[in-house]
Amino acid sequence: MAVGIPCAFCGVRPFTEFTFGGEWRELDAPDAESDFQRVYLPENAEGAQRERWFHVMGCRTWSTVVRDTRTNEVG
């Protein structure tokens, strides 16, 4: 079975129902330098990474998910 993504409302659903929203990031930054980092320099972690996923084919809400980028294991 395909990778399952846990939606906050619908429970675990196949990843094909979602679009990837990138790494989780702060909504704002205190100064220009850290704002540049926030927007343009993602961590691209090898291992557990907090990500945003949008349930576009389902309830159309965003969820924050921790996924292991090596194994696709979602915790």
């Binding site: 079975m1 409302f9 619908c10 094909t16 129902e17 084919m57 309830c59 159309r60």
Partner: protein
């Protein structure tokens, strides 16, 4: 909705195909059109749900029934009210009257999706050929609904007594029937 002469069911031409497939299954499956099912989209803050004249399900992916109306949970602030053909105006009016003054959206979207009813004991196996949901009875029961993918098309599934209703975009209706006929 008036002017019935202009309304056309996108699956009219497939009626014979669908009936023939049901015959071939030897009573295990049925595949029926539900032309002109009324669908009204409702967007509303869930804290106002009790104001609706039709009981709104608050639990995700469930359906409430009230006489000839059914309400599907589509999202935390989104519902789909289903009714008999050509009753859209009455449903919209009832909702608008009850929710007057509130921040809401009530739109008749009957032409937005086509309904197909897949019935019989073998239907879950057919659904599972194209759908990634867990359709085991422990997690998929009567009174539930879900928005998901069936093969390549977005579909709203509604589990009813001994049948599953599928709602798809009109332009995908032919594709859905073709795909179901492969699985039957």
């Amino acid at each position: 909705m008036t002017g019935d002469g202009f309304v056309r069911d996108p699956l009219q031409a497939r009626a014979l195909d669908m009936a023939a497939a049901a015959d071939r299954s030897g009573g295990r499956l049925t595949l029926d059109r539900e032309p002109f099912l009324t669908q009204v989209s409702l967007r509303l803050d869930p804290s106002l749900a009790s104001r609706s004249p039709f009981p709104l399900p608050l639990e995700p992916n469930t359906v409430t029934e009230d006489g000839s109306h059914e309400v599907l949970w589509l999202g935390p602030d989104e519902w789909l009210v289903l009714g008999e053909p050509h009753t859209g105006a009455q449903i919209v009016e009832a909702l608008e009257r009850a929710l007057a003054g509130e921040h809401r959206s009530v739109i008749d979207v009957s032409a937005n999706r086509v309904a197909v009813e897949l019935g019989g004991t073998g239907r879950i196996a057919v659904l599972a050929t194209g759908c990634g949901l867990d359709l085991h009875p422990r997690s998929w029961r009567g009174g539930m609904c879900a928005q998901t993918l069936f093969a390549k098309t977005h579909v709203i599934l509604q589990e009813r007594l001994n049948a599953t209703r599928m709602l798809v975009r009109p332009s995908f209706a032919d594709y859905l029937v073709d795909r179901l006929l492969v699985g039957l």
